[in-house]
Symmetry: none
């Protein structure tokens, strides 16, 4: 495999725009981050009044979604006490986030990057992230 | 003083837009990051083909410019061997960048945030950062 | 005792080859890492399409298996909430992995190194790791 | 930009094989690491008797060469006291190596990954890395 699909800045902006619109609709200021196929940050925004502690979390949710090609919500189910990946949050220098809000970005059925949202409840973050991902 | 001036997401986007335009003018794909008064990231972009190692550097240049209310170019002069702040780059968990490309953002003579650029030579980064800062 | 048994690069490659074959058989692209008696990396591969977040995990599973001369699957049973080693995953700078996929390498009944696999479910990782270890 | 060129495991192995051959020719056991376009590890070997402290260095030289699309030897010239990137080694969580032995991997004039070598003198590491890169 020598050619891969990834996410351009224009695409990352579309993802963020879609997420930002949803965040406004539900009234939850959020951090939204997009990473490319290599897991590296392409773009990030923190909406006014969104948590400063969520900058890091949004970026790492996006990384996690791409790093394991899974939503962080689904990963969470496998990462609790007794589950098959309990302890995974200690890997990758603490960059693995195991709660909702990180979603892989797909094009033609292949993962090309990830989006991470942090700012509200898990349900809100997941809602915004899914809307963002649909904006690709 | 209980009221501070800071940088909104709209303003950060104007700063990035101005920097991005300059980066295109000089033909140097760049990472551009904006932090607010608290030194926390408001927005970041990595232009297509810009270095992945510069994501971290752009964000930390913006932090440094605000953290010490100085351009990272000026800080560099004080942070080399024998200079008064030699070793400062080891503080703040490695977030202090001591080479050109980080510039404080001013409004009415007061620092309200910072912008950091990484992607080209020190001179190019500085040029883009100054253009970005002027876009506030 | 001043002489120890360890793992050479040739042996590490045999271990990886055996693991890679099993990973292909079960259709699960994987990261496979081998450490020597000192717990230090001898060789690593990431198969095409295997998770990038699993690079770190495979290396650390191999380290963990050798560091405590135990499979990470068995360690997991002792590292959960209420168990005797709960919290051990916070030691060794986050290098201790407490889920399946890390297996000690034995020669003549003595541990000489470790192999770590990450890329699929815990069961898949364990299957690949055991096949890899048998290749020594 | 949505499609990029990267490095497959087969290609990484060719790179390592070419580097390993050169390392044997000059009699210097070495660590050799290859990263893909995203800067993530694809494969690594430590030849028998090569330094254990060089595992990390080889991987990070490969990362650095890709992260900034430059040889670490050339980067070194820009990273010393008084040079334009002095302090860059403190960025990216200490992963930036500023001495010889890291070389970008090119295909059709585009950077697709990086190779990092550590084990001997700077000149030896550079020699092995260049031979490795030519093996792509």
């Amino acid at each position: 495999m020598t050619t891969i699909e990834t996410v351009s800045l224009d695409e990352a902006r579309r993802v963020i725009e879609a997420g930002e619109k949803k965040a406004r609709d539900i009234g939850q200021p959020s951090n939204i981050a997009v990473v490319d196929h290599g897991g590296n940050l392409v773009a990030h925004i923190r909406m006014d009044d969104a948590w400063i502690g969520s900058v890091d979390i949004s970026i790492n949710k996006a990384f996690t979604a791409r790093a394991f090609d899974i939503t962080t919500q689904d990963l969470a189910e496998n990462a609790g006490p007794g589950a098959q990946f309990f302890g995974i949050s200690g890997s990758n220098q603490g960059r693995v986030m195991i709660f909702a809000g990180g979603v892989p970005l797909y094009r033609d059925g292949k993962v090309v990057g990830g989006v991470g949202v942090s700012g509200g409840s898990g349900e809100q973050d997941q809602t915004v992230a899914e809307a963002a991902a649909a904006g690709l």
